[in-house]
Symmetry: C2
Subunit: 220 residues, 2 copies
């Protein structure tokens, strides 16, 4: 049943983005803003450049719920491709004002970066695209419920709302035990697995003192 | 009193790393591995290249507690420099087997990256240097108690232990309210400020199914 749903999804996306675009080398609507070979959707609208199909925008005329489903299907599509490409089975998309701003799969093992979860990668990419560290007004679609690192990153980025598909229990069943970190954060600090020691607070306060008295600082 | 301590620290570090190094263009011991002009410590040992003074290693002959204090002072030094350079007042250092592997200040506003906290940056840098996504056996020194994002990143990176200087209450006093995120994570999900919606779980499970049945996957 799931396979059939995926085939149907894949068919819908192909129908939107199959043929080549007459806007080639004019103005790409791909969020990457690079003017490369484009794909056109079923309404003749440029759907984004061929090298960045994951950034393609759903048609403006779709009802909101169907648009949301398409954003999530982009995240899911990335999560499935990622398995084949050697990455973790996760994908995410950031959307602002109905436009896909950025999308990424998990890149932990491929980039040698334990922080390169799909949500963190997508937040980083969206910030680069928009030239800001503040994603207020953006929504995030993730193929799996975020771990505490990604959820905290969403708070720091001021993401307005998020949508998820698989949950943390599905993730735990295939060996991604976010629950372990949630449990650790809930424990009294002295009982956590990761031990810590405080030192040199008096010396470190100097940076905070300088920050507090700085007039032209950029707060976040 | 704090100022005096900092001047003394600065004096000690200068004494270790002041003169030029006879090992120039031979083998730099700077963790950046670039063979640039070196600085030599008081024992005639190369202390790291001049362009990467923040990566300099304390002398091997120092007692362990003094070495630890020097690692933390590197993190504090970065946090103070960061204020002057327009970044947040935070610094961190990753150490493995008594050697500084990587160091970074907070880069949120400078890089337009809300995830570029000092600890996350340093974990990323250390992973690039060591060519791995697993920092087991590494210790992290941070000038301030980590926020939930950074603490979770440490779990994902398998950091063995961490040292911190300022605490979250010091940070809250100058406007960095990590406590807000801790409180949010503690709330029942439906009461959190950041709202969420689950959708298309059936379709997303396909990626997890493929991951579970993949024989040659790289787990993390």
């Amino acid at each position: 049943m799931r396979k059939i749903a995926l085939l149907v999804t894949s068919g819908i996306l192909s129908a939107f983005f199959a043929s080549s675009c007459s806007n080639n080398n004019k103005e790409s609507q791909c969020p990457c803003k690079e003017k490369k070979e484009c794909a056109v959707n079923s309404e003749g609208k440029c759907g984004g450049c061929a090298e960045h199909k994951d950034h393609q925008q759903p048609s403006d005329s779709l009802p909101l719920d169907e648009k949301k489903a398409q954003y999530m299907r982009m995240a899911i599509d990335l999560s499935i491709k990622s398995v084949n490409e050697g990455g973790g089975p996760f994908g995410a998309v950031v959307v602002k004002d109905g436009e896909v701003v950025a999308a990424s799969a998990n890149r932990v093992t491929i980039n040698n970066d334990p922080t390169a979860h799909a949500e963190v990668m997508t937040i980083r990419n969206a910030c680069q695209k928009l030239g800001t560290f503040d994603l207020s007004g953006c929504e995030l679609y993730t193929s799996c419920e975020p771990c505490p690192m990604c959820l905290s990153a969403m708070y720091w980025a001021h993401i307005s709302k998020y949508y998820y598909a698989n949950d943390q229990f599905d993730a735990a069943k295939i060996g991604f035990d976010d629950a372990f970190i949630y449990e650790e954060l809930d424990k009294p600090i002295e009982n956590r697995t990761l031990k810590r020691v405080q030192m040199l607070r008096d010396e470190a306060l100097e940076a905070f003192k300088q920050w507090a008295s700085k007039g032209d600082k950029t707060e976040y």
